[in-house]
Assembly symmetry: D3
Homo-oligomer: 286 residues x 6
């Protein structure tokens, strides 16, 4: 994974604490302490996998002796019935970690699977589908990782690492030109300036004011096309054009056809349902 192991360990430990609390009483009362078992994680439907390393870390956090063999990689298309991972270790550990491991895998693979559909929908167009800040509180790092596993891209992570001047910001200050010049005076030189616009006049104003990225928010297809045409007229500025607002799977191809560079879709994350993945745990035959 290309995400920090320090962060993964924190998220995994916190998820385990949430589920296990003081202890897994069913397992403790039913299963002998020293019993060994095999486990197998299986795709119950066609999915794009994401979170296999997180699942491994779940069992590792409980017991460093568990053997975990991934049989597919994040980003792989996995067919119904295919095995995703094989485990071997203390039976109690496998039982106690099962649900948390699956919760990560199912949530993340759900996002990756939907992201892949978005990506496929715009195949052939020079466009990126990116996520937004509409993510489940506490899980943004992983959810954005799953978007990448699905083949899409990330927008900024949060309020601290990107500039996006939105309608509300503009309304509260003296307009587009003032907002952009205020930002230019202070923003680190490593970050591009993006501004949200909703009509063609604002598009022109944003181009003049020196934005790096123009976000066409909630425009209809026709207006998007005109906006693209206006912006492309300023070739020397190398501007990026992003479109947002209700970007569903049905719509993205048409939007891509307008010539925008980026389509941002909260739906990648907020409309993803869980992928169906299960785990079987078996006593080792003697």
């Amino acid at each position: 994974m290309d995400i920090s192991i320090i962060e993964i360990k924190k998220i995994v430990e916190s998820a385990l604490s949430e589920d296990i609390g003081s202890g897994d009483i069913t397992t403790a009362f039913v299963v002998p302490d020293n019993l060994m078992a095999n486990g197998i994680i299986v795709a119950e439907e066609d999915i794009v996998l994401s979170g296999i390393g997180v699942a491994e870390e779940v069992f590792r956090a409980l017991d460093s002796d568990v053997a975990f063999e991934a049989l597919a990689n994040d980003g792989d298309s996995v067919k119904t019935g295919s095995n995703i991972a094989r485990l071997h270790g203390n039976a109690r550990t496998l039982l106690t970690g099962e649900r948390v491991a699956l919760n990560f895998l199912q949530r993340l693979s759900g996002i990756a699977t939907l992201s892949r559909k978005f990506k496929v929908a715009v195949n052939g167009f020079p466009v990126r589908i990116v996520d937004t800040r509409k993510t489940t509180p506490g899980l943004r790092t992983l959810e954005k990782y799953a978007v990448r596993a699905g083949g899409c891209w990330n927008h900024r992570f949060g309020l601290f690492d990107g500039i996006l001047i939105k309608e509300n910001h503009i309304a509260l200050t003296g307009g587009i030109a003032v907002a952009i010049s205020s930002v230019k005076a202070r923003v680190p030189h490593t970050i591009k300036i993006e501004i949200e616009v909703s009509n063609l006049e604002e598009v022109r104003e944003a181009v003049q004011a020196g934005a790096d990225i123009i976000l066409l928010d909630n425009m209809d297809i026709q207006m998007m096309k005109e906006a693209v045409s206006i912006i492309r007229g300023h070739k020397d500025k190398n501007l990026l054009i992003e479109a947002s607002g209700g970007m569903t799977l049905d719509r993205v191809k048409e939007v891509a056809s307008t010539g925008v560079d980026i389509i941002s879709a909260g739906a990648l994350i907020h409309s993803a349902v869980w992928a169906n993945i299960s785990m079987d745990i078996n006593k080792i035959k003697e």
Copy 2:
């Protein structure tokens, strides 16, 4: 809310840290420090509301001087276009808190809205729809709260506060009778013993062994009916009957008609998509 304020504050603070990091640079660079503003949170579709108190806590954590007036309560059906809350306070605070507040509201109201649909689907039947442990890691307390706001009920919270002997447990030990008697010997007397069964023989065994709750897992309707009939034959045991396994909105009414007491549906949470809710922030007219 009927959940601990200590927990809510922790979850909210952690969500704010995730999104804001070292600071909201767009707002800091664009909006004057002392500007006041009004905000309004609006339902963009018909929803069942959940999380209004969490949203309030988001703004309160940033600035105790923000005025937040809820215009609807958790559990209320809110129509498209209705106002959910009115805010007044420092413009920067409203802008910085907006997304996190909405992320909670949209995720939780999404769950509440779907839960309400499940509840309505079994109207008239003496049955409870309950959730499962299939929840987003880190957000279980709030997601289970949203299920209640939708009018459904909760199953156990985690591995520590309930006994559910699953197929995997039984497979790893000496069978249903042994498992139940092991648990009986050790479980706190305040907790009921639930066991998962998948055929009628197991049903009979579980009843004999003294389970309190029989979970009919992945049975077809016919088998469920027979299982109910067998279990109801032991009136003096006051057993509860729960059904689980692929409980979609389409199926629950038919399952309810089998006479089970409880239907557990992971879908309440894992198949909920976000409710569409937005926030407008306006300068105060002078």
Copy 3:
């Protein structure tokens, strides 16, 4: 141990931070860095052991290379002078970890030893002695574990995983029947409903209202007997009867003789004094 390794690690690390702070200056200034030593943990009086796994974790958290061999298990009766564990490792680690390891062992074994006495006191009666929520703040998981090591049982863990309607609750609402029906409407189906009563009228009311467990609080022996007789008259309801209030070692046998199913005694934990356990550390003979 049947408690979560995640929780144990947190408690142990926090205890080590409390005692060691920035560093064990005596040891650092006196003992060479690379000296190896043997340690032996010894019972200085007859005890029931509890916490051996926690003690091991204390040394492991400081230095994963320490060898720790337990010579007795939690729950074992250990005689004066018997060895409990043998250690081998860096001399500084043994010296630095000694007090924290003993603090856990002495506190937990103190509880296990007293719990065993309670258990023995009611030998032959079909009754459980259980603990209460009267535990040392921050140490409940381990203290309740020690109660089990002593051979007694646990009541609910906290306010979140059990229903106990107490006198104060009833006084603040409309009485027993209302309180129980309010709870029934909302409590997860996995949790039994317990209610505290202090006279026979309340006993009858609680039975009628459908409680699962009747807690006879601060009744004298005669009243307890009558209460038991009333409740056992409702055989079909399978009610559990618990007695509480000043349950000292002297009294529990007489209380057990009334026929109650459970005796809850805060004394298991709040009146336990530390078991006398010591540790010797010796240079390795060359």
Copy 4:
């Protein structure tokens, strides 16, 4: 209180999380949200009070609107039946905070009450009774505070803020003189050097080597007297003499009579049982 409010808040919040978890379900299901109540905390036996400020902080952490009026101060002798504090506030808050507040008060007052007995036992002698590092993991700050409330004194807090060269340290290095001179070369000048000795030869060696405090460990009364006599012979060195080892309430007066300056007794904390304190919560009469 003379302890850091930052630490108290952390301990209190952690204790509340432990007990309440996701929520106090009994109270939430039974007691209306907006009900107000009065509470009264009462001594059920003669105690020395400790922890009243912690109890206040418990309720304050749940709800800043609770009124908490202390009717006695830490260190006060409180008679059976006396009121310790009066509360007024939301009924749910009083019910939810009750047990945690009492757990602190009962544990700390138990220690203060026992400490007071030790202090009284040596009345008239120019001696201090001090505690040790035998404290409940996680609660040392508060337990040492309770010792002071009882009228005794504290030894060092942990391994970081005092030098105590114990038998084990000496055994692992080249003897008393070497150990003391190693420490002298490195210890901050603000900290005295204490060394544990168990016979008169070691006493003389420790005096020669330049210790500031001589700890007479597990000596009988006669040997203590001789040790005191030897040490007092070096008037110019201003040495402090401490005695330790099985210091029970029965023995301390005789030990004090030997002329030692300090008696360290783990029993102040590890042999204290909880003080009996209760809380009543009543609906407000209209």
Copy 5:
């Protein structure tokens, strides 16, 4: 301040815990509990102020009743002997918070003061002096804030919010072109791509490969000039030019004269010594 209040509170609380631990024993033993006092914070040399809001938060965290009046703002030049802030409140609180408040103020004002000197040194040149990731572990948010207070700018915050392909990265892969194209394929569109080069050939390669920012590392003045000339030859690419490597106060003017856009100087932070600031606390005259 334009940084997150959530982060400031965490840093302040952690600093107070570090200094106060279980309690400020000198103050607790010497100063009466209810004494009120005035405090005044004074510049003992000419400084540029930074951290006044953090200092206020220090006292606020200890006691919300302290009155803190700032007499200067972050970024102000403050002359020797000038008052920076006036305080009024409980004497113990002022004494206990003094050192931590000053530690923040002195460290941050030291950085702001040095940053101002760098800024002044390049007055008249169209260049930004920016900081680096050479910051004190744990204090980056505040140290970068102090740089801004001094009138300079920030580079990226950490490894997560900016792309800087350094010599080590290039050495480990297939060269500049490959590295840049790998990044382009995956980096969020909101982030510019910066690459470090050390000779003119690399400059040309970086320009060709499509970098957004060229970092001239450890070049002499002559080579910098040639590099600038090469890069400015590609006007349509709008490239930014940054210079780094041993950027001391003595050198920056000459570097600025080469025409680079940005000079990054670790010295702003790692070579700043503390500003001299003190606090007086006085009894209130009756």
Copy 6:
């Protein structure tokens, strides 16, 4: 190191989180996952080394498989160009950990190097140079460790482990005698009592009142000499004399010549600039 491994791990993990956040995107996008590399840490100027064990822990926290071989010890004088440590491991890990490891090494070695200069400046005098509480918030444990590595000593760690009655304390109470006797009545017997004085009258008063350490604050050399003479006149009291106030490298020798025992100098830490240390990372030749 003589500091707690528990604390080091916490500080290191927190520093890594600060720098890496969700992930090191440059490295992830540029460097293959399975590439191995060698690293070498080099002194770029003459330094006294401190923090080598912390640097090792940085890489260990990211990846337990990294081999880290220290080539010098803390406290060693290391010449320009000398190698400090050799590393071997995953190339991504070396790149990601580099800056944090160097930040610790450079800050701590900067302090050790300056401390060494102070120590050398008073060579031949029976005096200790000690640090103060003027330390970077959050880093006190390590900064005080670096002072020791440089050959100087530590004063108290914080407000909890030493008594220092300062001018402000005295001003707020009834004077020196009262302050000292209040402290004597309550302070643990393991801690010496230090008091700050600023003229000869106060010196006499402090001696009379029974202080253990007299801190001569901001006196000129002549007054210091007289103060020393007065205090040494009371030989039987074994008093320590400390001098403080603007103790720069230029002045300490003259101050040492007055005969004081201790010179406390905030400058050891607050005026230390970073040592110049770098790290090279190379592909392994095949």
